[in-house]
């Protein structure tokens, strides 16, 4: 009797594991603040490293995109270290657009890949064409983790506010950079590519070492970007790419060059990059396809010659 009562008063604390890959880079403010407000323990997998990447490559189907391989590597790292792994599923944001089918599939992909381990996933599903929006999805998730509806709703509202504030800070910082002198390079890449410590960050670091200022396409006002994207492409179906293409329209004239950074063989980027290359003729463009195996030496050479072209163009214009 006594034990049961104690049990009820102090339910075993659950820990949620968050893979630091794919949507993490878009939503981490939202997720972390949501769990914090609800008082739910969570851990985040470490930055991508060679070991995580290799694990992912091992688990993934050969042809899967590098980003999803990395994701599986992070999930593998979390196995056994938490009670639930957070694997959200998104298919559509309604009129705003849809997403790459990888995000439709990711929940079931994880479920059917790790059949040999014992694990639980916590999921939320956003499918606006079937009226599953973010708020509803978060409340469901909170309830699944043992919180009440109103607690979960409250936590979601707080988390949303936090996310907004944080994103505004980042946006304002970038605005300052946009007005800086010197060579500015616009990077058009999914967040999980450019912000990944193993994949994109080394490139950002190299760019800075070469004395240029990187500008990020993903740091942009979404609404404005979606409208402006039509200047470059009218029928683009994928929301995340549309946002980046809108950023391209918005920032293009303020930068000296553009880097399209893509993980191999990304479905949406395979088409979108080609559209960009064919339509944007007034800025140098570097199309970087990353497979996780390139050495820094090779990258450095490519970046250097790209910057040289830009410098050459600039001195031409000044003369």
């Amino acid at each position: 009797m006594f034990i049961m009562k104690a049990d009820r008063e102090k339910p075993a604390k659950v820990t949620v594991g968050i893979p630091k890959a794919l949507l993490y880079f878009k939503y981490f403010h939202l997720w972390e603040s949501f769990f914090q407000t609800l008082g739910i323990n969570y851990i985040v997998s470490p930055d991508t490293n060679k070991d995580i990447l290799n694990k992912g490559i091992n688990y993934a189907v050969d042809e899967a995109c590098l980003s999803s391989k990395i994701y599986l590597g992070h999930v593998a790292w979390l196995m056994g270290k938490c009670d639930y792994i957070l694997v959200p599923r998104i298919s559509s944001f309604g009129k705003a657009g849809k997403v790459c089918t990888k995000f439709y599939a990711i929940y079931d992909l994880v479920m059917s890949t790790f059949t040999d381990s014992d694990f639980k996933l916590i999921n939320y599903n956003i499918d606006s064409t079937n009226s599953e929006n973010e708020r509803k999805a978060f409340v469901k998730m909170g309830v699944a983790l043992g919180k009440s509806k109103s607690q979960s709703l409250y936590a979601y509202i707080i988390a949303k506010q936090t996310q907004k504030t944080q994103l505004n800070i980042i946006k304002n910082e970038q605005l300052k950079l946009l007005n800086k002198d010197g060579i500015k390079i616009l990077i058009i890449a999914h967040r999980y590519t450019v912000l990944d410590k193993y994949i994109g960050e080394p490139i950002v670091r190299l760019l800075k070492q070469m004395g240029t200022t990187p500008i990020f396409g993903h740091v942009v006002d979404t609404k404005e970007a979606l409208v402006r994207s039509e200047e470059i492409s009218k029928t683009l179906p994928w929301l995340f790419n549309k946002e980046l293409i809108g950023a391209l329209a918005l920032y293009k004239d303020k930068v000296d060059g553009i880097i399209l950074m893509t993980t191999f063989p990304c479905g949406p980027d395979s088409l979108v990059n080609e559209v960009v290359i064919r339509k944007i003729k007034d800025k140098p463009i570097l199309n970087l396809i990353l497979d996780g195996q390139e050495g820094t030496a090779g990258l450095e050479t490519r970046l250097e010659s790209f910057i040289d072209i830009i410098k050459f163009k600039r001195s031409d214009e000044i003369d």
Binding site: R89, T101, Y104, Y107, D108, S233, P268, L271
Partner: protein, 354 residues
């Protein structure tokens, strides 16, 4: 008649109903793309981005060859996945190549509703009439169904014909003569007649033949050239080929709710494009005790790549071998043959062991 010469990329043998739709329904000339050859793929590949999925490259090759054949109005549809964005880039590439044409991107529309269909197709020919399209559309839909039924029968029997070539020959005649049919009644009689001919073709079918199910991505599965005529190859080994995917089952009818229900032990959500059908049919073939399954897709196809771990689970739960093929523009013919032969040896050994 207008001076519109419309064209649409190849998809299996559906150029027959498409030609009827365009000429009789929309009342414009229709250019059937020249049959797909190595040149088609080569042209398409040369002007396409590197790792775009192969249907994009084939479609582009078809457009170029149709333009060469006199087409001036190119039609593209959407529907799912990357296909929704094919059109804009196709148009851009062809313009950059200097071709002069009109591009009609009809997006994703339900094919079966005359009125919506009418409003969109008016873009191809503003003078077309609702009356006409309402008369022709049902004929076109029936044609698709009959072609699908006939081809289903052929796949299951062609491997056993006594006189090699008889099925192919009759199939070609069936398609050719169908092109002149304009009424539902005539079409029905025609269909009955041909099904009788198909059924009367002599076959030597063992009591328990080997049965192989073919599953996979929409385009690759429906365009024999793009899957290196794998069904034919299998048939010549004396195998019953079963393939569910066709236009009738995917565009005319919507089986998604059923599929979702069937596979709920394996998959919770829709994984995109044809992945659910692929998994559903794999499970069905497995449950029916087929000897093997072949999965085909174009290189890098995201939804079908994501379906593979699920297929692997079905394969191990039901002890059914699955052979995976991923085709791109440089797939080697020899590699395919070798893998098919090894697969055949394996399923026949398993059968004999039972």
């Amino acid at each position: 008649m207008t001076d519109v010469k419309a064209t649409f990329p190849h998809l299996g043998n559906y150029f027959v109903p498409l030609e009827v739709l365009f000429t009789a329904g929309i009342e414009v000339d229709y250019i059937v793309p020249p049959p797909i050859t190595n040149r088609t793929l080569e042209l398409g590949t040369r002007h396409s981005p590197d790792f775009v999925c192969t249907p994009f490259k084939y479609n582009l090759g078809n457009y170029i060859e149709s333009l060469e054949a006199g087409a001036n109005t190119l039609v593209q549809v959407g529907g799912a996945c990357r296909l929704d964005y094919y059109g804009e880039l196709h148009e851009q590439i062809l313009r950059d190549l200097g071709y002069d044409f009109r591009f009609v991107n009809i997006g994703s529309t339900k094919l079966t509703k005359p009125l919506t269909f009418y409003n969109i197709l008016k873009e191809i020919n503003p003078d077309m009439t609702l009356k006409n399209i309402a008369r022709v559309l049902p004929v076109v839909l029936k044609m698709i169904q009959y072609i699908d039924e006939a081809e289903d029968f052929i796949r299951k029997n062609i491997g056993f014909e006594r006189n090699p070539g008889e099925f192919d020959h009759t199939h070609q005649r069936f398609l050719l003569e169908m092109r002149s049919i304009r009424s539902k009644k005539e079409l029905y009689n025609y269909y009955i007649k041909y099904m009788n001919i198909f059924k009367s073709i002599e076959v030597d079918k063992p009591k328990k033949p080997l049965r192989v199910g073919v599953i996979g991505e929409y385009y690759t599965i429906m365009v024999p050239f793009s899957n290196h005529f794998i069904e034919k190859e299998l048939a010549t080994m004396g195998i019953v080929i079963d393939r569910w995917m066709n236009l009738t089952n995917s565009v005319i009818h919507d089986f998604r709710p059923e599929a979702k229900e069937h596979i709920k032990n394996y998959v919770t959500f829709d994984m995109g494009a044809t992945a659910m059908y692929t998994i559903d049919k794999a499970l069905q073939f497995a449950k029916k005790g087929y000897d093997g399954i072949i999965h085909v897709k174009s290189f890098g196809c995201t939804p079908e790549t994501d379906a593979i771990p699920v297929l692997q689970n079905i394969s191990s739960d039901y002890k059914i071998p699955i052979l995976y093929f991923s085709f791109d523009s440089q797939t080697s013919e020899i590699g395919i043959k070798t893998r098919l032969e090894a697969f055949y040896d394996m399923i026949i050994m398993r059968k004999e062991a039972v």
